[in-house]
């Protein structure tokens, strides 16, 4: 039996094509995933991401516990509402999950974790909290809607009374409260916008208000091509418990500038593999698990698709360390070897291509 978000009936009534996504019945698209993608790059789109789990954390021990639990350091959060992207590692340095944690106030944090990893994350967190004054509260009573695109903030202000006053001056990666609604200037598309956590019972009404303001409903298909163009990793695809953050392009999220003891730190060694971007020069589409032949040995595509913004195929790949930016590599696509160029990513940011071919 697939799990449903509170917006399931709304999606079905809008003609969404639904798919099983990690045990959740979620919209893949509402007609065309490419138009939805383009809408987010040019105007504004909305995503039901209520399958992701909000977890509220509190207690006098919560700050020290998070400093031990996460590879990034919550001590860097010095303003209430500030957000931090981090990996949660196992003792071998493998990635249990990637997440966002917000500092809500004294001894209070809010975390958002992936849907498919929710149960194992919570079990791991409980295990690490034994004997500590830390309260871990999963918020299944909340829904989450991401509104993304250059016009996203303006549309939210139109659709939600009182939201402009509390969120107009928010910088990226900061959040604010509007009553019991939580408005964060974060996202997974490479565009400006908000991720809004709200009581589940109010989600359908808010979704309809956004639609009335001209925000296009977007499915997981567009979400995947948008995040890939933005060079953002997808858990379970680009990284998992067998890879360290250093091998998967997430070294920038591992805070090593002091002697803080966090889980997995001692296992982090100089990586022999690196994550790079690929742009296909030939015609075709690169797909996950495709082989990448480089001057330093073979690697593997971890995420590959067609980029609607660049009108060609792009990918993230894990290749041997030392493969330089600019190298032309060979990609096994079906029965052919195609040429691709190794590039820095993101591929697209704020509607603009970041790639010179």
């Amino acid at each position: 039996m697939l799990r449903q978000t509170v917006l399931n009936a709304v999606h079905r009534a809008s003609g969404a094509k639904m798919v099983d996504f990690g045990g959740w019945d979620m919209p893949l698209h509402y007609g065309s995933q490419i138009s939805e993608h383009n809408k987010v790059r040019a105007e504004a789109g909305m995503f039901d991401v209520s399958h992701m789990r909000v977890v509220d954390l509190s207690g006098s021990g919560v700050r020290d516990w998070l400093r031990h639990l996460l590879a990034n350091d919550v001590a860097r959060l010095t303003v209430p509402g500030r957000a931090l992207y981090s990996c949660m590692l196992n003792p071998q340095g493998g990635v249990i999950d990637d997440l966002i944690v917000y500092w809500v106030g004294e001894d209070r944090y809010r975390m958002v974790i992936n849907a498919a990893t929710t149960d194992k994350d919570l079990a791991w967190m409980q295990q690490q909290a034994v004997g500590l004054t830390v309260d871990i509260r999963p918020r299944e009573d909340l829904a989450m809607i991401a509104v993304q695109g250059p016009q996203a903030r303006e549309k939210v202000w139109q659709a939600l009374a009182g939201s402009r006053a509390v969120s107009e001056t928010l910088k990226p990666f900061h959040a604010a409260w509007l009553g019991d609604w939580f408005i964060a200037r974060t996202g997974y598309t490479g565009e400006d916008g908000f991720e809004i956590m709200l009581p589940a019972a109010q989600a359908a009404g808010f979704w309809q208000s956004l639609a009335a303001a001209g925000v296009a409903p977007c499915g997981l298909g567009a979400r995947d091509t948008l995040r890939l163009e933005a060079g953002m990793n997808l858990y379970g695809q680009d990284m998992d418990e067998t890879t360290t953050p250093l091998e998967t392009g997430l070294g920038w999220t591992v805070w090593l500038r002091d002697e803080r003891d966090f889980i997995g730190r001692s296992a982090l060694v100089e990586p022999r593999r690196q994550q790079v971007g690929l742009v296909l020069l030939d015609k075709g589409v690169m797909r996950a698990h495709g082989e990448v032949q480089t001057s330093a040995g073979n690697g593997e595509i971890t995420s590959g698709s067609f980029s609607p913004s660049l009108n060609r195929s792009i990918a993230l790949a894990r290749v041997p360390a030392g493969v330089p930016i600019g190298e032309i590599v060979r990609i096994a696509v079906r029965d052919k070897l195609l040429a691709a160029k190794v590039v820095r990513y993101p591929f697209v940011r704020n509607g603009q291509s970041q790639i010179d071919l």
Binding site: L28, I34, K283, V285, R287
Partner: protein, 129 residues
């Protein structure tokens, strides 16, 4: 589900139209384009190539997945729809207008063994269960 009654169908989701001159026009069905989603790249067989029945002869790539194109019967490729090279989304807009290639069947009677619309509908339903 859009399954025109006047066409023939294969279990690999091609539609086949029998033309007055004995040639066949081939495309993929509305059901197939619906499964694949937004089409981004099409590779057709080269005109003049001889195909065996069921032979892989082209590729359709959508954002989501790649799918093979198969020859519904044995025969020779006559022409291909080159418009699809620049506008593969035409398949999503109208799968029965966006033909892929034409062929001359080795044996015109082979077409009789293909599915009619009703049989294709039942075949799709059986695949979904």
């Amino acid at each position: 589900m859009n399954i025109p009654a006047e066409l023939k169908y294969s279990e690999t989701h091609e539609w086949i139209k029998c033309n007055a001159d004995g040639s066949l026009t081939i495309g993929i069905t509305d059901h197939a384009q619906d499964l694949l989603g937004d089409m981004v790249f099409v590779e057709n067989p080269v005109p003049g190539r001889h195909l065996a029945a069921g032979e892989e002869c082209g590729v359709l790539e959508s954002v989501k997945a790649a799918s093979d194109l198969y020859a519904p019967v044995a025969g020779e490729v006559l022409s291909v729809n080159t418009d699809l090279e620049t506008a593969p989304e035409a398949i999503n807009q109208d799968a029965y207008a966006a033909w892929m290639f034409t062929m001359k069947p080795d044996n015109p009677a082979d077409v009789d063994a293909l599915l009619d619309a009703e049989a294709y509908r039942r075949f799709i339903e059986s695949e979904q269960h």
